[in-house]
């Protein structure tokens, strides 16, 4: 049966396109029927709800149960098919978790007609079992889905009476959908927390947390087989921490003063015409993808710094922290300046007028009145900028190195959390090795570090806004 198998799993129900076309068709029919019936009835006596609402409600009473049947069916199929397939396999193979995973993947590939490498004759029985489970399940899903659809349709049609509050029912449904959509944001956070926390926990079963947090050596190359001696892997994040902090510090040394001064100038001095030109310039810079900045850092800025360093007799690494930090600083300038600009313009005019009335010059007003008043906002802008710098990936991946040097020399190559996460997880990975889990542990540290900064910064901004609103 033609269809798309999105799941790549054994139980993947490859009938979705036809099923969903059927679902849409039946729901549309329900809409037309219900609307027509309500409109007809409304000719004789007045209905509580407009015909359209009866139609929309009928549409939902057909579509939702059919959708639910599909989701539940697909889930159950996966469960049953996998269990049955495993039962048909050699028990020795099932006992070995690695080979079991590989076999299941191969069965899924065979079932969805993808090319499979190697000898798979041992899996034939399991494939047949899974296939028959799938066929039965597909038939069952169709039968149940159709039944649910028809039942929904009959139910909806029976409910069409003058007193039935179809609009209220439908609106209740809509509010639930809206709420669920808002809930996805929460779900995303929960998903992030779970995915990093879970893997980090597994990582800490292999590497003690203390070693991870205080170790000064980072080389995650673990032995692939147990009998491979020598490389045991070292997971101390101190060099990564210093590298990240070094680059972020350079970036903030660039972005802090320039961004703040630019914001002050734009908010307090610039004429509307200057603002009209300068604001888009900052916005363009903010919109440049980081991969472009990374390319620029690696191929233009880094060689320039190297040449400049050599002419001064300094030995500059070709992937120096300075190049990455400088370009990252440039990236953050628009961020700092637009946030600070907002904060500065939010300072009430009365404070400025008071200062001018006492005879202060503009710069004195800014330095002694506006900046102190705006300080909480500016601090939080800087904190958000730091969190940006720490979490930035592409610039450091392309312009900073991989070498986990424990150094504070900006001319040396250093590495960061994000670079290591990217390096470990790109390419083929064994999902159970300490190395892969280490990437998630790094992600955990990164997430909670930036989260803390963000929460504090956003809380400060919120309180600040309330103060002047």
């Amino acid at each position: 049966m033609a269809g798309l198998d999105l799941t790549g799993r054994i139980g993947g129900v490859d009938v979705s396109i036809i099923y969903f076309s059927l679902l849409l068709l039946m729901s549309a029919c329900a809409y037309v029927l219900a609307r027509g019936r309500a409109a007809e009835g409304a000719r004789d006596r007045s209905f509580h709800s407009r015909p359209t609402y009866h139609g929309l409600l009928a549409f939902s009473t057909v579509a939702l149960p059919m959708f639910a049947v599909f989701v539940a069916g697909a889930f159950l199929t996966q469960l049953v098919a996998e269990r049955q397939a495993l039962a048909a396999l050699d028990p020795a193979l099932v006992a070995d978790s690695l080979r079991r995973g590989a076999a299941l993947r191969q069965i899924a590939d065979i079932l969805s007609g993808r090319p499979v490498s190697g000898d798979v004759s041992a899996l034939a029985a399991a494939v047949d079992t899974a296939r028959s489970v799938r066929q039965i399940a597909a038939a069952a899903i169709y039968a149940l889905g159709l039944a649910a659809g028809v039942a929904g349709l009959l139910f909806a049609l029976r409910r069409i009476t003058p007193d039935f509050k179809a609009r209220n029912s439908f609106e209740r449904l809509v509010s639930i959908v809206l709420m669920l959509c808002a809930g996805i944001a929460v779900l995303t956070t929960v998903g992030i927390v779970f995915s990093v926390v879970f893997e980090t926990f597994r990582f800490f079963q292999r590497v003690p947390p203390l070693e991870f947090l205080t170790g000064t050596h980072w080389s995650p190359q673990t032995a692939i087989r147990a009998d491979q001696g020598g490389s045991s892997g070292a997971f101390g994040i101190v060099p990564l921490l210093t590298g990240t902090l070094l680059i972020s510090t350079i970036a903030m040394l660039v972005a802090g003063p320039i961004g703040l001064f630019a914001a002050i100038y734009m908010a307090e001095y610039a004429s509307p015409r200057f603002r009209a030109i300068a604001k888009p310039v900052l916005e363009i810079l903010a919109g440049i993808p980081t991969v472009v900045l990374g390319f620029f850092a690696a191929l233009t800025v880094a060689p320039l710094i190297r040449v400049a360093g050599q002419s001064l007799g300094l030995d500059v690494a070709s992937e120096s922290a300075l190049a990455a930090g400088l370009v990252m600083g440039m990236m953050i300038i628009p961020f700092v300046s637009s946030l600070s600009d907002d904060v500065i313009t939010a300072v009430p005019q009365s404070l400025r007028d008071g200062s001018f009335g006492l005879g202060a010059t503009k710069s004195e007003t800014i330095k002694r009145v506006i900046l102190p008043a705006a300080l909480p906002g500016i601090v939080s802008a800087f904190m958000l900028a730091i969190s940006r710098a720490v979490g930035e990936t592409m610039i450091v991946v392309m312009a900073a190195g991989l070498a986990a040097n424990l150094t504070f020399n900006p001319l040396d190559a250093v590495t960061t959390f994000t670079v290591q996460i990217k390096t470990i997880l790109v390419g083929d990975q064994e999902f159970d090795s300490a190395k892969t889990l280490a990437a998630f542990a790094l992600g955990f540290v990164l997430f909670f570090f930036t989260l803390t900064l963000n929460v504090i910064a956003l809380a400060i901004i919120r309180r600040y806004r309330e103060q002047y609103d």
């Binding site: 798309l4 999105l6 799941t7 790549g8 609009r167 609106e171 809509v174 959908v177 809206l178 709420m179 959509c181 808002a182 809930g183 996805i184 944001a185 995303t188 956070t189 992030i192 995915s195 990093v196 320039i258 001064f261 630019a262 100038y265 734009m266 307090e268 001095y269 300068a278 310039v281 900052l282 440049i288 993808p289 980081t290 991969v291 472009v292 620029f296 690696a298 191929l299 628009p334 010059t361 710069s363 004195e364 800014i366 969190s387 720490v390 979490g391 930035e392 990936t393 991946v397 392309m398 994000t418 996460i421 990217k422 997880l425 790109v426 992600g443 990164l446 989260l451 963000n454 956003l458």
Partner: protein, 577 residues
């Protein structure tokens, strides 16, 4: 209270004397500080603008050449014996034909003197394998070509292309002064010119020697002090000797120089031929023949070519340089728009690599993102702005959305890897997963923008609707939402532009594979434009550098269009209530 109000006003005599020199001095200082502060602010803005300008100019300078390609326009004889030996004209047979041989024959007819295997291979290497495919496509499209001779554009290899763009080496041409007498042939030609014909070239090679000596001396300076280590001492003596011998050669300005492949190459172009100088004096030079000129012993018109980069450091050797030079001289090279760049997928050959696959991949990914995050984002915004009760849960939701907007993008990649790939077993490298991850990434942006747009609609609109009996939802969906739509669309475009430029999370979910095929569905392996840029920037070949910059120009072009659309939309529909 009244006391303060009635206090005697401060008079000049009672307080500070504003006319005193100190006071004037102080005022001047304060005004200077004011000017300084203002200048610093302006400087900050200008530095930022200058950086942006530098970035854009650098990218354009690097990238624009990639929109052009160099081709040789040679006469190709579509020999039936080579491409259709069976004479069937059947496309299946035509596909199997030896089109490489056609290219080889076309080159041979230009340079018949290239006979031995190595030279011939170098000659063939000038032309890209893409040219062979082009010929095949031409014949398949028009089998009538078989048996005919046509002038065909043949794509140069990336090395030849770099040479023609003078990126491999700088080439300076100098018209020869005075008549030149040519004696001997093939590998032992002697060129005699009256009146110091080669003096300038000789001086140039001496300058090069001086540079090398400086490099040696610089290396000497970095060595540790004498006597510390025997190995270092021998090295020091070697360097000193080498520097001294070079010094001796430089000192005698008229002494002839032997040119090896470690010095800049000097080629003499005589009519349709090219000689390579092996030893140069002020009036006389020894040379070998690269391409034989027309016979004749006294030449009046000749020129001297200096290839600045020594042959060992070049990708194109002197032989190939000579061929390219002659082809250009014969008017058989052309520079044309590089349509391939927009039609091809990725390739290991820089001259054949294109961004079509990445563009389609980006389009598919963004489509998934758009379909997911606009309905969900707008729905969430409507809920939070219009329907959510003000309680702690809603508060938490708001804080959560604001925080999510500031979570590093790579963390979303981790989420995609752990949840979509490992838990849900969705296919790796697929636009489906990429779109899902990017949708989660830009969702907060869209929610925040949509809320702002909804908030900007004045409450009177909603109240009027409620007043005539609309339900709360009817008021929102029929009246508030349509008015907020321009703002929501602006936010959406900006969110999409953000998603288009995003790289890091897509690396995590495996969209970094080398993929030649153009993806056709959201479940097929694909890559996106920013990831393609990242992949190319990692490659060592110089030719890929300009491809990378070219792809960046295309990406920035798309972003510019999207942002311009957002700005225009805002201008067109912006309403002041």
């Amino acid at each position: 209270m009244t006391d303060t109000a009635l206090a005697p006003p401060m008079t000049r005599s009672a307080g500070v004397d504003f006319d005193s020199t100190e006071a004037r001095e102080l005022l001047k200082r304060r005004y200077r500080a004011e000017a300084r502060f203002k200048a610093l602010g302006l400087l900050a803005v200008l530095v930022t603008a200058a950086f942006l300008a530098f970035l854009l100019v650098d990218i354009l300078r690097k990238g624009i050449p990639s929109f052009f390609e160099h081709r040789a326009t040679l006469t190709v004889n579509f020999d039936a014996a080579l491409i259709d030996p069976k004479g069937t004209r059947d496309p299946a047979d035509l596909r199997e034909g030896d089109y490489q041989a056609l290219v080889r024959a076309a080159l041979q007819s230009q340079f018949p003197e290239a006979q031995d295997r190595r030279t011939r291979r170098a000659l063939d290497g000038m032309i890209s394998s893409g040219a062979v495919d082009d010929l095949r496509q031409a014949v398949l499209a028009n089998p009538g070509l078989i048996g005919q001779s046509r002038v065909m554009p043949l794509l140069f290899s990336s090395d030849a292309d770099l040479f023609l763009r003078q990126r491999d080496t700088l080439i300076t041409r100098r018209t020869g002064s005075g008549p030149l007498r040519v004696e001997g042939e093939s590998n032992a030609v002697t060129l005699r010119g009256g009146g110091a014909a080669f003096r300038a070239a000789l001086a140039e090679s001496k300058t090069f020697l001086a540079e090398r000596r400086r490099a040696l001396l610089a290396e000497l300076a970095t060595l540790p002090a004498a006597g510390s280590n025997a190995g270092v001492d021998t090295k020091r003596t070697e360097l000193e000797q080498a520097a001294a011998s070079i010094q001796a050669r430089i000192a005698d300005a008229n002494a002839p120089e032997t040119l090896t492949d470690r010095e800049p190459s000097l080629l003499v172009a005589i009519g349709d031929g090219i000689l390579k100088i092996t030893e140069i004096g002020a009036n006389e030079a020894k040379a070998t023949t690269l391409i034989a000129p027309k016979p004749g012993s006294i030449i009046t018109e000749w020129s001297l070519l200096t290839l600045r980069v020594p042959e060992t450091n070049r990708r194109v050797n002197d032989n190939v340089s000579a061929w390219l030079e002659i082809l250009a001289q014969r008017g058989l090279t052309e520079r044309a728009f590089n349509a391939r760049f927009f039609q091809n997928g990725d390739s290991r050959e820089p001259e054949l690599a294109g961004i079509r696959g990445a563009l389609i991949g980006s389009a598919l990914t963004l489509m998934v993102t758009l379909l997911l995050c606009v309905p969900i984002g707008v729905a969430a915004a409507i809920y939070l702005e219009e329907f959510a009760p003000k309680n702690r849960f809603t508060d938490l939701l708001e804080v959560n959305i604001n925080n999510l907007a500031a979570v590093p993008s790579i963390v979303f990649g981790l989420l995609g890897l752990a949840v979509f790939l490992n838990a849900f077993d969705l296919p790796r490298s697929a636009p489906l997963v990429g779109g899902l991850v990017l949708a989660l990434l830009v969702l907060p942006t869209i929610i925040i923008a949509s809320r702002a747009a909804l908030k900007a609609v004045p409450p009177s609109i909603k109240e009027a609707a409620l007043g005539v009996g609309a339900s709360h939802q009817q008021a929102v969906f029929h009246h508030v939402l349509p008015l907020a739509m321009p703002g929501i669309m602006t936010g959406t475009i900006i969110g999409m532009a953000h998603a288009l430029g995003e790289t890091a999370p897509l690396l995590m979910i495996g969209m970094v594979a080398f993929i030649v095929d153009i993806p056709g569905a959201i479940t097929e392996a694909a890559t996106v434009l920013p990831v393609q840029i990242f992949l190319w920037s990692d490659l060592p070949e110089l030719a890929f550098q300009s491809r990378t910059a070219g792809a960046i120009i295309v990406l920035l072009g798309f972003l510019l269009v999207m942002n311009a659309a957002a700005v225009i939309l805002r201008r067109m529909f912006e309403r002041r209530w």
